[in-house]
Symmetry: C2
Subunit: 198 residues, 2 copies
DNA sequence: CGTCTATTTGAATGTACTCAAAAGCGGTGG
DNA sequence: CCACCGCTTTTGAGTACATTCAAATAGACG
């Protein structure tokens, strides 16, 4: 039971994140945790390179990851950030075992909990309610991206910037402006001008 | 069995769409089809109004729906089209029973098959593999929208237009230019200019 | 056939970009 | 611990892409 208490603190965020959607019992929770691996990703180091296959999904416990792509001109475009409590992966690569289109790297020293694809399959077979959890996770991601598309269609850069600050509270202080600009679809120069105006 | 043959033709598209991801047996298929309702949505009429709760998901058998929002100035922004073989809904509203942010209406006379939320719950309980189907559906939608965001960050209007034509083959001939422009995040005037150039 | 809406075309405007240079900041090594 | 180096951010000037407004033309539908 000492181990149990240790896990409760170590995995507090992760278990709370899951409990938000499904209620596994103690046995199911233990089984899930037995499949999970801890890892630290140093700032600026890469978790997933484009072209690789995304073998694990990562729950961010501390720190911040980002997912982005590089275009023909070498420009990076940030699709999403993953600070604490977010699940990071290249969905298409992870589920279809195709080479990843996106890269995922760390904007800060980041502690993650990993779940591999084979272990996820085991998990779905042993504890079917986890399939529900990941369905809901995919739906939430879908809703999030739909909002993002809507705002890119309907709103000017300045209002998208406000939405970014709401979506990721305090993250603005933690990451470089150029990453925020890239996420907003504007240049760092233009973001700097927007911020001066206020 | 005559009924069975009739269903095979009537539900051909729907069953093929499902068979792409899961393999329900005959009993499970029959149960699923017993929950499904057919409906026709006339061109320009509304399937879901913003503010309403999205009670059903709709599989498009023929025709085309679109999902869009109206901003403060009354401008419409098309997030997605749903021609044949697509599943249409306001995901956030359907799963959380919140008032819909989006509207869904018909760009052509459209025949859909509906599955209500309560019936979907029954379906998940009776035939768990359908929960897998809808997880995959959510994931595919997620991937699609992620591509959309990436292209809006990385590509100029002209190339996004090319992607639209690939994503929705032949749809260009079927729907108004202003709807395509809205989907691309440009004005109909500018789309007209792009098309002239070629 | 006539009306209403969509599309095209042109001109003027504005938003966001590129290029360039200066200033600020952070990390590293002496 | 401070100084230097490299990267990020700021600032300014000129530019380009996409917009608005307006008017003419074309298409769709009853």
């Amino acid at each position: 039971m000492l181990l149990h208490i240790a896990e409760l603190t170590m995995y507090k965020r992760l278990l709370h994140n899951i409990a938000y959607h499904i209620k596994p019992d103690q046995q199911e929770t233990d089984y899930f945790l037995s499949l999970v691996q801890q890892k630290t990703i140093k700032k600026n180091s890469v978790f997933l390179n484009s072209g690789e296959i995304c073998r694990s999904i990562a729950f961010v416990n501390t720190g911040c990851l980002r997912i982005f792509n590089r275009d023909e001109d070498g420009r990076e475009h940030n699709v999403s950030f993953f600070p604490e409590d977010w699940w990071a992966m290249d969905v298409a690569s992870f589920y279809s075992k195709k080479p990843a289109f996106y890269c995922i790297d760390a904007l800060e020293d980041t502690e993650v909990f990993l779940l591999s694809y084979p272990d996820m399959e085991k998990l779905f077979n042993h504890v079917p309610k986890f399939e529900r959890f990941f369905r809901i996770l995919a739906q939430n991601g879908f809703v999030l991206y739909q909002e993002r598309i809507t705002s890119s269609l309907a709103l000017p850069a300045e209002e998208r910037y406000e939405l970014f600050k709401k979506r990721y509270p305090k993250l603005e202080q933690r990451i470089a402006q150029k990453h925020i600009a890239s996420y907003l679809g504007i240049t760092p120069v233009f973001l700097s001008m927007l911020r001066r105006k206020r």
